[in-house]
């Protein structure tokens, strides 16, 4: 299990290849990558991501441990960036390894649903018109409820 909270970009191909390497017992590797999306009509200059050092790592570790306990996972990788990111840059990735694909997919969704509303990150969108904190969505709470 590896958790990384970092400002620097990551290499998706290398991370996925390293994660998948040498796992003859794992028949399924799923990766999900979140990308900074531009805003239609009001171009995004930068997305600033703030986090709570210490709690972030603890919360992500706890989520990954829950995923391992809940699904038949061989391994989990979570990388999440903070700082100033441009449209098209990768914000985060999760990877899950399981003997079968159903668990690998479900665990990746579980991790994403938790990351969205239980990991202490806050996003702010900066455009030529000004800047705004991204509001949490009700649908993210609904997505989380299905796992309880």
């Amino acid at each position: 299990m590896r958790i990384s909270v970092q400002e620097a970009p990551f290499d998706l191909g290398r991370e996925a290849a390293d994660f998948a390497a040498g796992r003859a017992d794992m028949g399924a590797i799923v990766t999900f990558t979140g990308v900074v999306r531009d805003l239609p009509g009001d171009p995004l200059e930068v997305m600033e991501i703030e986090h709570y050092p210490g709690m972030t790592e603890a919360a992500l570790t706890e989520m990954a441990q829950q995923a391992v306990a809940r699904f038949s996972l061989g391994d989990v990788l979570v990388i999440h960036r903070f700082g100033a990111l441009k449209p098209g840059e990768m914000i985060m990735m999760v990877a899950t390894a399981a003997p079968h694909r159903k668990d690998a997919f479900a665990a990746a969704e579980f991790l994403m649903d938790y990351l969205k509303s239980r990991a202490p990150f806050w996003k702010r969108e900066v455009t030529a018109q000004g800047s705004d904190w991204v509001a949490a969505k009700d649908e993210d709470e609904v997505a989380l409820d299905r796992w309880s």
Binding site: Y52, M92, L115, K116, S117, W122, A136
Partner: protein, 81 residues
């Protein structure tokens, strides 16, 4: 006790963290003390339904006790992923 603020709560109060001398027994008591300080605190804590709290870096409820607690953080709902 260390009190931390994130995102727009930090902006409204004007500092990211501060040392607070308090005898508050719960998070709610601490909020009452902070609100009474200055207008910027009253503004930040106006609507508790818009806020979340972590006690010693674990998400908590506003009625959580503060016995032996070293760090409390206030912030808006999280937007990770």
């Amino acid at each position: 006790m260390n009190v931390l603020y994130f995102a727009w709560v930090r902006e409204r109060i004007g500092v990211p963290r501060e040392q607070v001398e308090t005898t508050a027994r719960t998070v709610n008591d601490l909020v009452v003390e902070l609100r009474a300080r200055e207008e910027r605190y009253a503004a930040a804590f106006e609507d508790l339904s818009a806020l979340r709290v972590a006690v010693d870096q674990t998400l908590a409820e506003f009625d959580a006790p503060l016995d032996g607690v070293r760090e409390v953080a206030f912030f808006p709902p999280m937007t990770g992923g």
